[in-house]
């Protein structure tokens, strides 16, 4: 078992068009590093130069926004589903 990561379309060019990727990671930061290890260049899309998640990107763990959890140190467990979703407008 591992963490399932849903990759949005704009990032699938890094993942050989895979929409869902399985990874072992203890928290969100480790997940980002893990993604970078497998798909070089991906981290620079997700984070700014200081390693902070870009402000127009949302990450959800099992449908919960990580800003309601522990942000980038949010712990991950086997079987968790992580979604990466660019911010969208509404109404």
């Amino acid at each position: 078992m591992a963490v399932q990561v849903l990759i949005p379309t704009p990032l699938q060019k890094f993942t050989a068009n895979e929409a869902c990727v399985a990874l072992e990671a203890g928290d969100v930061n480790a997940l980002i590093e893990g993604l970078e290890g497998r798909f070089p260049g991906l981290k620079a899309r997700l984070c700014d130069d200081t390693g902070k998640l870009r402000r127009f990107l949302n990450i959800y763990v099992n449908s919960e926004d990580i800003r309601f959890l522990d942000n980038q140190t949010t712990a991950l467990r086997d079987g968790d589903e992580v979604s990466i979703v660019p911010a969208v407008a509404g109404g």
Binding site: T9, D65, S83, A89, G90, G91
Partner: protein, 434 residues
Amino acid sequence: MTATIASSVLDTGATFTGLRCRECGQGYPPGAKHVCEDVCFGPLEVSYDYDEIRRRVSRRQIEAGPASIWRYRDFLPVVGDPVDVGTGFTPLLKADRLARYLGLEALYIKNDGVNMPTLSFKDRVVSVALTRARELGFSTVSCASTGNLANSTAAIAAHAGLKCCVFIPSDLEAGKVLGTLVYKPTLMAVRGNYDQVNRLCSEVANTHGWGFVNINLRPYYAEGSKTLGYEVIEQLGWQLPDHIVAPLASGSLFTKIRKGFNEFIKTGLVEERPVRFSGAQAEGCSPIAQAFEAGRDFISPVKPDTIAKSIAIGNPADGPYALDIARETGGTITAVNDQEIVEGIQLLAEHEGVFTETAGGTTIAVLRKLVMAGRIEPSERTVAYITGNGLKTTEAVTGVVGEPHLIDAQLASFDTAWEQVQMLQHASLNGGAG
């Protein structure tokens, strides 16, 4: 590549040249794309050839156009014939009675509660989005909605002959659900709040190849709100107001009203002057107001709990830009509670004969709060944007506005009831004075 596509767009008579990232400036061709996927995930915005627009437009040419948003089509990102359902050019009402009550000298109500075809400002953005959807070859359109956008997308898709599937939170007001179903779209009521619906839609947009008006068509969609800026200028006799108050949900409307003002300045249609921008939120969902108060430049999302469902977006995508605008212009962003929102609805109805929904109640309640706090000067020419119609959210005022007097069809019955009414009014007047 971008330059080739840009010139081909201009060849067709359009004035827009492509998409550009608001954060890093990266350019993209004008397709169905909403984020800066090559660099930073910032939002994409439509860019224009303003020299070309300046050559084409004049006050007289605009005044001779249709009584809809399409009188401003040189400023909108479309190529061919628009989907024109009569959207826009709604009344700008001089609200003298409400102004006197609040202690303002010149107050105007921009009443999009009577916008066509579905009685909210969303008809503006959807008209633009579906015109562009057709141009980009989509046959199915969709959206995530707090209600008004669902109504509008379903209605205008029906008119344009596009297939439609819309997503709403499952707890919306009955009027908004019915006012979507009647146009026969596929309606998905999602167990969850708007932000959860929106996340689901982002994932559906990844896989289904639909035109989501607020996702992959967002750069075009959002431009429709600029017309709320243009119309106010034109209706004020080609002048800018001093202060505007508008509701904040995602923050997009607020930023686009300003873009509309700036474009009219840039193309010589109106003389520049400072305009203060103030934003209204409901306390039960006020992430932008909280950031404003705390002096933060980032938004911490919240979980909505308010009767103002149409503006209950806990994770507002354009929140950071709305904060910048309020700060730059000397405006403010503040929140009011649900009771004040209902009072706002009543104030506008009783003083001006305009029945607005909860978002409009929020705007009027914030307007009152800002005047009382001295944040709006009495002499400022102020425009309050009313974005939706009260008949869609009757739940909000049920039980608050009283009951009819039930009488028989006989003069004696009326006389008795009338006497009681007079006595009650007399008593409440005396009570009020005491």
